[in-house]
Subunit: 476 residues, 2 copies
């Protein structure tokens, strides 16, 4: 028989790239295994995973919210309320009972779009956040935001010339989904010199170029707060972006998974695109994505999230329902995680004081760490770093000398990937090179998370590595 | 702006059909809502969901396994072991501790392929089952079997003429995935007159026809135990099927999610295709799918399962890893559910007696109910029903008179869909018409699960409906 070989497979799969779990992350895992050996000979004693926004990962700093986990434990084994009297706060017992009445066993498939009761809770959360109503029937619970993004992109690509405007730098899920489903990325550039701002002009320019090349723009992807940039849009630019979508008949895909990771909310608040579209009474079809993986929830492993469709006709909602029904339903653990996120304890509830203490601590630690790290990175020669007002990351720019670039070329690597590999080899710190997110020709960056505890030790290692690098390779 | 409309979307989405959650299931949900009204005027007081193999659904009969849920509750809130001393059996506490050491928080992303430790447990389970080794690096944990099937089909379709041999009747995930990913179904027929057996000759015939039509067969889908048929393959036919794959260079996709739902294991045992391929030292690329949603586990809502690749080159394993990494990781609740399924309590463990009692009861209830239902269905005029030796379903054939067929035509429905709709309207019982699974031209069936309690009441309703139907429409 003929052996199975790569060239007999879907060619789109080979074009997919996803650097967040790519070469660097795979090498980091191998190093982590090697550290378990007695004489490992490595110049560090732990691997620090700064490559991925995974708040509860071993060695990182964000503990789960107790309320969320207590509700989840009771849903797993409802008898616990009686078997361990007094162990669960009374609001937790009441919440689990209410959910059980609606859901039944969390071991059963739910409605494919998600438990109707939880979708109503999400709609209430959106209404309270925005001051405009939300329709539970237009909300789809998902196994994390990624599953929803992939589905929507797959649905909106009606031919190989269909294009999506993607910010550069971007979270690589977007280019990966476009590669898999055979659509065209239309890159538009964010302005690093202006705190990674988004400009209508740069998007207009990208549309004109794409159209001239025969690509048909179908959607505009906005990540707000930004990933990897942490930037926050103000309402004025959001309004212009909605108008731009109207003008060009674009579907607006708003990735808003970091909406509660705000480090300076008084000067850099978050406004949802749903609120803007509602306030303008705009007809723009909008899909907004949210997730329990980020924010104070940080529950990546549950795989929970939702997307809300606005200005979608009912026949397209029915089509989406049919498609998600083939996958049966989103994970129930993720769905009840969504419920805990959108209905946290309120003042007066037994769980409120602890919930408040835990979430305040998470916000404060992340904000402080982000500021300290940005300041120390900015103090390094050849490094500049926008101090992110939101999300979980910094995206420093590194200027690399000709000598360093030549060495990278020799090693067959992009210069920033070469830098990141050396960083990993010497310090155990795993970051993602900017080439995985996109950047202007001739510029180099990397993304690192602000989730690692022990800033002094961690950034100290980064600093020592960088200074040694500059010693070896010189400045640009 | 131009409104978003169906004709501007991916045309493949519109071709997808998934009857298990289609018209009948949607109508059943509406009726369930209507029953909550005071004067609903419906001729029944509950809706019985026989359309889907969802063992823990409200009103159905299969409780969760206590051990699985105790481990899960402790993983959600590890402090419980101390806060509720003596409540958890000691083997549960030890298991949760072992898993926590390996995984850390279940709120963190795991390895994209699944927790390495759990993949090793799966490999041990496979080795114990088959007597041949399994490689943990070639095992992918998934969010249920469906996610894996869709990924593999998407990967293997390299052009629009790529085809997959699909049994008729089939579980409609296969045709739905082929429609979404734009490949060609190549139907081959199972032999109802011979207990839904699979024959090499009928597959050879299908290959010849497809090839003549310019379709290139890439894979053979086998569902064993069958869905909707419940049929079990014997080793002799399994060997011939492997040889056939060798001869035609086909990838063998073995859907084995019902492997532990065996009603008469002494005469109708299950043998995995992995065992057959290993014993023959065959080079056939094999993917076998398993799930925690079925069997005695029945944990549909956790979304857990795995697929194992055999005879896959490393570069294709790496490609699969890259693709699953874009989706980050399978749900942790599903992954620990897989661990509980492949490592149940053993004799001598504190949890063993209860586990044994619970699983024996599930097997016995399902076997008995299947037999009784098949016998009573067979006693009805114009109905014949193979008595399934496995899985969760029966797939009775119903002979429909010309008058009934004309009436269906008038209503714009397939005759069996028309029958099923009337059944739902009159009894509240929701089944899936055979047209959703495929059947020979001019034949009619429906699928119903054997999970509903109260056989007398339930089958009694079916019988009364059918007899009235025959009174109205006559026999074929």
């Amino acid at each position: 028989m003929r052996q199975l070989s790569l060239d007999a497979l879907n060619p789109a799969f080979q074009k997919v790239q996803y650097a967040v779990r790519g070469e660097l992350a795979i090498k980091a895992e191998l190093l982590r295994d090697k550290l378990k050996e007695k004489d490992h000979g490595l110049p560090f004693d732990k691997v620090i995973s700064s490559n991925i926004g995974n708040p509860q990962q071993k060695g990182l700093d964000q503990p789960p919210i107790t309320f969320t986990r207590q509700v989840a434990a009771l849903m797993e084994w409802p008898d616990l309320a009686k078997l361990a009297p007094g162990v669960f706060p009374e609001d937790v017992v009441a919440r689990a009972k209410e959910l059980s009445n609606e859901i039944g066993s969390i071991g059963a498939y739910s409605h494919s779009q998600g438990v109707p009761f939880i979708r109503k809770s999400v709609a209430n959360f959106i209404q309270e956040r925005d001051g405009f109503p939300a329709n539970p029937n237009h909300i789809f619970l998902t196994g994390g935001a990624s599953a929803g993004v992939s589905l929507l992109i797959n649905m909106l690509i009606d031919n190989p010339q269909a294009g999506f405007l993607i910010p550069i730098p971007q979270y690589p899920l977007y280019t990966a989904s476009l590669a898999q489903h055979q659509g065209q990325p239309i890159p538009y550039y964010l302005d690093e010199s202006n705190d990674w701002s988004t400009s209508v002009a740069s998007i207009e320019e990208a549309i004109a170029e794409a159209t001239a090349a025969g690509i048909v723009p179908k959607g505009l992807v906005i990540i707000n707060p930004g990933n990897p940039t942490g930037a926050l849009l103000n309402e004025k630019i959001q309004e212009s972006l909605v108008k731009l979508c109207e003008q060009h008949s674009l579907v607006l895909l708003a990735d808003e998974v970091y909406q509660s990771n705000l480090h300076r909310p008084s000067t850099h608040p978050f406004t949802s695109f749903k609120k803007i579209v509602s306030r303008l009474s705009s007809p723009v079809p909008l899909v907004s994505f949210h997730s329990i993986s980020k924010g104070v929830s940080g529950e990546c492993g549950r795989r929970g999230g939702y997307f809300e469709c606005a200005n979608f006709p009912e026949d397209i909602i029915a089509l989406l329902y049919k498609m998600v029904s083939v996958g049966l339903c989103p994970p129930l653990a993720g769905q009840i995680g969504v419920d805990s996120m959108v209905r946290p304890p309120k003042p007066g509830d037994a769980s409120y004081p602890l919930w408040k203490k835990e979430t305040d601590a998470i916000h404060a630690a992340l904000a402080e760490r982000t500021g300290v790290m940005a300041a120390r990175l900015n103090a390094l020669p050849g490094v500049s770093c926008v101090d992110s007002p939101g999300a979980l990351y910094l995206y420093p720019r590194i200027r690399l000398s000709e000598k360093a670039r030549a060495k990278a070329l020799e090693a067959g690597k992009e210069p920033d990937a070469f830098y990141a590999l050396e960083l990993l080899d010497e310090t155990g710190i795993c970051v993602v090179p900017g080439s995985g997110f996109g950047q202007k020709e001739g510029e180099w960056h990397y993304r690192l998370t602000c989730l690692c505890p022990g800033v002094d030790e961690y950034v100290g290692k980064l600093e020592r590595f960088h200074l040694k690098w500059v010693e070896n390779y010189g400045e640009e």
